[in-house]
Symmetry: C2
Subunit: 317 residues, 2 copies
Amino acid sequence: MTEPTGAQRGPQVVREPGLPDRVTVYEVGPRDGLQNEDAVVPAAVKVGLVERLLDAGLPYVEATSLVHPRWVPQLADAAEVLGALVDRLGDRARDLPVLVPNERGLDRAEELGLRHVAVFASATETFARRNLNRSLDEQYAMFEPVVARARAAGMRVRAYVSMCFGDPWEGHVPVEQVVAAGRRLMDLGADQLSLGDTIGVGTPGHVIALLDALNAAGLPDDVLALHAHDTYGQALANVSAALRHGVTTFDTSAGGLGGCPYAESATGNLATEDLVWMLDGLGIDTGVSLPAVVATSAWLEPHLDHELTSRTYRALR
Amino acid sequence: MTEPTGAQRGPQVVREPGLPDRVTVYEVGPRDGLQNEDAVVPAAVKVGLVERLLDAGLPYVEATSLVHPRWVPQLADAAEVLGALVDRLGDRARDLPVLVPNERGLDRAEELGLRHVAVFASATETFARRNLNRSLDEQYAMFEPVVARARAAGMRVRAYVSMCFGDPWEGHVPVEQVVAAGRRLMDLGADQLSLGDTIGVGTPGHVIALLDALNAAGLPDDVLALHAHDTYGQALANVSAALRHGVTTFDTSAGGLGGCPYAESATGNLATEDLVWMLDGLGIDTGVSLPAVVATSAWLEPHLDHELTSRTYRALR
């Protein structure tokens, strides 16, 4: 049998009734992805990655984390990366979202003139203690001045809630507990909640139940994002369920960059390519060029110590 | 950070309204999976694989293909495998579905006393010519006596329709063309249609549109199965869409066994483990033990020339 001559570079477009015309793909590869890679990528490559992702049409590219270098050595060059991005992209770089773990991080964000920050909270007591060395109440106390000051400075504030669908120490996480965490963060003044399936264990009924409960607590789908990891292969099915529910912002990383620090798996975030293939097939506009994301992943891959796991990337590279 | 102590071995169960209580997982690993592996697995391993999959609770395990050895060298030992299975499992082995490409294959199935066969048709002219060396009309002419004789012998007959969502030579495949193929095969006397996304390009709206069109042509969801390949990472999202539509039979292979002969990808069928994780999370009964499937994949993996690609398998192994 000879080689296929008409192999598809994109899906056949067939709309699904009831879905939105447009979806926001929020790229977290340079931050959540690289933070969970063993390889430490040079600052110049990080800068090139962010630029290429912007050029590929991604409307949000979370550039880095202004965390103390001791805690996340992979992102120890955050200030250097952001400085280079401002040099190269000018004022546009100041709209790139950046994670700030605490007031110190916010100080640095303010010095750089950034306009979009994110805080990273836990839905569970155990992970708050392990990741932040704080109780749940203490985490809110830490974030309160961060969010208040950021809002006063006119910044947009995204709040991540991690471990929404399961916790590697506590196991199951009640939906009510996630709703309480989300409510607290929004009451502090965050304008978007990103619901993290940090260990990738969630399934579609769980996603729908959590969204229903958040809606009932006064948090509508349009302030919510789903942040799915593909550890158990569930990410796209979960995004699909959230999309039908009404959520229109989804976090991804190019190539499926990143690992899961709490599972023996090389699988990271839902891959940008896998989501864009689905949304292209559904005729939903994202503004993202699939070939450009594939080219970006292929450019980045040699800087990592493993092959990228995105199925669509691997089929198209 | 110390190692997680409560890592989950299964998802939190949260039902999704409107879904069925029970789903049939149809295991194709020993046939479609092994047929597309470069490694040729010894007959004794094939026999062990089928037995382990049955022990794991899979209600259907397609055991092999009674195809001419020249065409599929990986399954050249089909008669030996089936003979051994009858020796070991007795009459129960005769209920294992087996692919028969033509009347010659059916002759052998009859000699062995098999009670469940499958035929493999194409939805597209190009693939019919390339795979069967026949036009679409000639393929139906070939299958007509196979299905008629099988039904007359009291056998169940499954009909695969391949390239339902895209063809590597023709590109896009119109839904109407798939409906025509399905209608022809059911009119010949098949009792179940397995809709193959052979190259894994389909997306959820396409799945729904095809199911709607088949229903409108008198083929209800309860005679349909979805056979998804995970080449572009879409398989579980597509299964999820079909499940909501009303389909309750899904084809999978343990570990994601198999490759895609028409794409540069090591990704095979939707992995049994990835589907069972989702269905377990949805509280849908399959009768399948996830740990037993994971153990089976781990037992098989050393006989292959690559690592298995199932996300759930890799997280749990």
